[in-house]
């Protein structure tokens, strides 16, 4: 089945710095989504990006399907961006389930 690797495992930034999170997957992805989990909280969807570049607010995701990778760029990080970021993708052609990466823990300090 699909395997998803995220890097780095954790990242510490000063407020205002940019963050770059990576997601690599084992087979050509047909669908990819980024999620955010605030500390101690639930998950929310950030971006659906199966290919190319997508923007929302301070977030930019770039997915290069043939290279089996996706990135999430957070510009001008804020303390409230702290939490865990997951990428997830469709586990296979004939399934409705997602495979999640292990996440990147982001801590933004003042």
């Amino acid at each position: 089945g699909q395997q998803v690797q995220q890097s780095p495992a954790s990242l510490v930034l000063q407020e205002g710095e940019n963050a770059e999170l990576q997601c690599n997957f084992s087979s050509t992805a047909t669908q990819l989504q980024w999620f955010y989990q605030r500390p101690g909280g639930s998950l929310v969807s950030l971006l659906y990006n199966p290919s190319g570049t997508k923007h929302t607010g301070r977030l930019t995701s770039t997915t290069v399907t043939k290279e089996r990778r996706s990135s999430l760029h957070i510009s001008s990080s804020q303390i409230t961006d702290s939490g865990t970021y997951f990428c997830a993708m469709k586990a296979g052609a004939n399934t409705g389930k997602l495979t999640f990466g292990h996440g990147t823990i982001l801590r933004v300090h003042p």
């Binding site: 089945g1 047909t30 669908q31 990819l32 989504q33 909280g41 639930s42 998950l43 929310v44 969807s45 659906y48 199966p50 997951f86 997830a88 993708m89 469709k90 399934t95 409705g96 389930k97 997602l98 495979t99 999640f100 990466g101 292990h102 996440g103």
Partner: protein, 114 residues
């Protein structure tokens, strides 16, 4: 926005005990999911369903049963709980399967098996 609620929010049981975790979604989504989240493993899918009466096996189903009684309600059953099932459990729902359709997550249930 879709509303997904879970109960209980916290549960403590003993080894061998019976536990039922409940999930309800109010947006008439077709798909519902049960995940567990553990440090070092991220989110792992236990079971999912694409409609009332339907059940699909996830990636870590051993020791768990699930039942989708209505469009809105999805239950996770641990009939003989073990300490290895101590975890944070999330329920989610989506209109359809795959990543194209946003999954909306509930607040989670913390389960401790002593």
């Amino acid at each position: 926005e879709a509303a997904v609620t879970q109960s209980p929010r916290n549960k403590v049981t003993v080894t061998g005990g019976n536990v039922t975790l409940s999930c309800r979604q109010t947006n008439s989504h077709n798909y519902m999911y049960w995940y567990r989240q553990d440090t070092g493993h991220g989110l792992r899918l236990i079971h999912y369903s694409y409609g009332a009466g339907n059940l699909q096996i996830g990636d870590v189903p051993d020791g768990y049963k699930a039942t989708r009684t209505t469009q809105e309600d999805f239950f996770l059953l641990l009939e003989l709980a073990s300490p290895s099932q101590t975890s944070l459990y999330f329920c989610a729902s989506s209109e359809r399967g795959g990543a194209r359709y946003t999954q909306y997550f509930g607040p989670g249930t913390r389960l401790l098996v002593l």
